[in-house]
Amino acid sequence: MAQLLKLIPRETTPGALAHDVAAKYGRERRYLIRMLQEIQSTYGYLPQEALRVIANELRIPLTEVLTVATFYHQFRLEKPGEFIIMLCMGTACHLRGNAANYEFLRTYLGIKPGRSTTSDGVFSVEKARCFGCCSLAPVVMVVSRDGSYRKLYGGVTPAKLRRIIAEHRAKLAKKR
Amino acid sequence: MRLARVEEVDRVFGHLELEVLRDNGEVKAFFKVTHGARFIELTVNGRPYWEVPYVASRICGACSIAHYVASIRAVERALGLDAGEWVEDFRDAVNMVQIAQNHLVHLAFLALPDYVGVQGLSDLKSRAGRLVVNSMKLNTACLKVIRLIAGRIVNPNTLGVGGLLRRPFKGPLLKAADYLRECEALAKEVVDEALTLLKVPELKDPANNCVAVKPRKIYLTTGDEILTSAGLSFKPSNYREHLEEMQPEYSNSKAVALSGAPVHVGARARYELLRNYLRDLNVPKIDLSNPFSNLIIKAAEIPYCVTAAKEILEDLAMRTADTGVDPPRDGGEGEGVGVVEAPRGLLIHHYVVSGKRIVNANIITPTEINARHIEASAKALTESLVSDGRPLNAGELQRKLTMLVRAYDPCLPCAVHVSVVRGRKHA
C-alpha cells in the first residue's frame, strides 16, 4: 500500500495536509477517494477541517465530500483510539464466534453504547469486512491509528482478546 | 287454513314476511318483520347528547337526513335550544331533497315493475326505459345536492345540535339551487310518465285515519304540532296519549295504534291532512281512500319538493346566515320530542337528557305506525278477492298483496330500531 500512497510528513495541520493532497492529485474530482484515503492514513480518521479544505479545493459542496466519506466503511469521521481493534465479520468468522467476541470486547473495555472508542481513547473496537483469511477464523486485526503498525490474530477467543489488550497496553506504555 | 304466504317480500328495504290465513271463518293478515333487531335506542343510552345525531343518522341509509333532523330537534327541545329561522329552513330544504330522492328510487325501481308487468329491474329497461334513465339522472342530481349542502349523502355532517357546525358559504347554496333548477323540468317529465303507467288496483281503506306533522311554513316543512284525520291536533311532547306502541310476538318491529285503531302515515296521509298548506301539487283525480293512491301522491310530491327546496335555498342564500347556537358543554336536564315528515311518513324522536348524557330514548318510525294499517288493508284486499273461503286465484292474490305492501314503501331497518324484542317467531 505504501508505494501507492506517498506518505507526507505529519506535523502539518489537517487543513494544510488536505491542501497538499488536493494539489497532488491536481484537484480532480475523480481522485476524491484517493485523497480521503491519504488523509485517513495520516490521521487515522478524516478531521472535519481537512474535509472542508478538500471541498473548497475541488470546488464541490462539503455535503458531496461527506456523502463519499460516510458511504465507504474504510473512512472514520471521529478520532479513533491509539489502537483500532477490527473484528472480521466475514461469514466464517461470524459463525466461529466473532459476534460473541465483539460483545465481550465492548463490555470488557467498557465502551458505552453508541460509541466505538474507550473513554481513555486508547482502544477503538470496530467491525471490519472480510479480511479473506477464513482458515484462521475468527480473525482480529489490530492497527495503530496512523496505520504504521498492523498485526493480525487468528482463532481468537475471549481469553486471547484479554491477552491482546494487555499486550498493546504494554506496547503503548513503552512508547510513551 | 293459509290463504297466502310470502316468505321474503322482494323490492322492499330489508326483510319482511307476509302471511294471510283464515282462522275459523275470519281472515287475518300478519305483517312479520324478519329483519334483525338493531337496538338503536339502546346504543344511544349513556352517550353524550351531541353524539345522538351521529347514531341516529346511521339507523338507515335511505333517509338518514330525516332521522338526523328529527334527533337534532328532539335534543334541542330537551335542552331548550332554538336554532333559529335560518337553520330550520336549511334543514327543511335538505329534508325535502331527500324526500324527492327517496320517492324517486321507490317509484322508479321498487314499485314500477309491478305496474309494467315485469319481474325485476333488468327487464324494466325495455318497458319503461326512458323513465328509468330520467329518474337515474334526477337521482344523481338530488344526491349531488345533498352531498353539497349536507356534507355527505349518508351520515350528513354539516348539521349539529344547535345548528350548523360550520359557517355555510353562499356558493354551495346557489350551486345546489342551480342543480335543482336544471332538473325541475326533468322531475315533471318523470312524474307525468309515472302517472300514466301507475294504474293502481281498486281498494277501499278499511280504517281511514291518519297522522301528519303540521308544517311550520309550506307543505312538507317540519313543525311542532301533529294533526290527525279525526280533526284532533296535539303537541309532539304528549304523543304518548294518542299513539300507543305494542310489540306483536310474530314481528321484530313494534306496531302503533292511534287511540286503539290502525293508523297510516305517508304521502296519502299528508295530502289528506295538509291540503290547504299546498300551492300546486297537481294531483290527478284519485280516490284518496285507496291505499295504493299513496304511490300517486308520492309521485306528485317529487316535482313539488324539487321546486320548494330550490326556492328555500335561493332565499337562504340571500339572507344573512345565522348558524344557530352553540350547545352547552355540560348539557342540561330535560326531555324533548322532535318530529319530522320522513319520506315514508311521520317520524318521532324522543330523548331524556340529564347532564351530558342521554338517559332514555324512544323512536317511532313511519313503518312501525303503518304496521297495523297494512294488516288491515291486506285483510280488506284478501276479502275482496276471496269468495266462499277459497282464493279465486292464489297467484294473483299473492301478487296483489305484495303490491299493496310496496305501496306503503315500508323501511324495515328503521322499524327494528327497538330496544327490546319480546315477540317470538310465529310458530
Binding site: - | E51, V55, G151, N157, T158, L165, R166
Partner: protein, 226 residues
Amino acid sequence: MVRVIVNGKEVHVPEGETILTALKKAGDAVPTLCFFGHMYREASCRMCLVELSNGKLVPACAYPVSDGLEVRTDTPRVREARRTVVEFILSIHRIRCWSCPRKGGNCELLKLATAYWVEGIPVCSSCPLYGRDCLVVKGEPCLGPITLAGCSDPCPSNGSPCIGCRGPVTRKDVLEAAAQFYVSNGVELRDVLEVASMFWEGLPNYDSLKASLEEAFKKALGGGED
C-alpha cells in the same frame, strides 16, 4: 418508430424513448413518484414498475423501448410490488399530518395509499382545516389524528369532529405524536376515549390501543418533545 404492445394495445413510439412515453400514448396511467422528466429519471422509487412478457418487473420511467416489447401495467405482481413500496414509504414516513403543509387533498402518499388499499394514514391528511380552523386546535376531541384516512370527504371538513368510524391508527410513534398534539391544544385523554368508545370499543385490539394511548398521553404530559 418502434412497436410496443401495452396491455394488448399496439402503440408506436420513437426509438430510444422509455416505456413511460409508450404508456402515455396508450393512455394507461402508471403512478410515478421520483420521475421528473430529464431532470431526474434514476428509477429509485420503483412505483412505475410494469411487467414484461418474461415476467421481469422493470421501471417504466427508465427502461428503453425495443421493438415488439410487451408490457402489462396491472398484473397481480405489479400491484403487490406497488402496494408494498407504498407500505415501505409509509413505514419510514414521519407521520404528522395535522401540521403537514400537504394536508387537505394534495398528499401524494395518501392518494397512492387509498389506490392500493394501504392503511395507516390519519384522517388529518385529507381534512382541509388548517391551523386555527382545525377542530383539535379549537379544543374539540376530534379523532382525526388517530383514525385511518380513506373516507373521501371527512366530517371535519364540514365542521363535525371525526368520530373514528374507519378504525384506529395503531403505529406507536403516530399515537405519541398525536398525544403531543392533543395535549398542546388542551384536549384530555378522557374526551378522546369517550368519542372513540362508540366505534372502537368493540375492536379486538381496543385494550392494547387504549394502553398505548394512555402511555402516549403520559409521555406527552410529562414534557415530551416533538
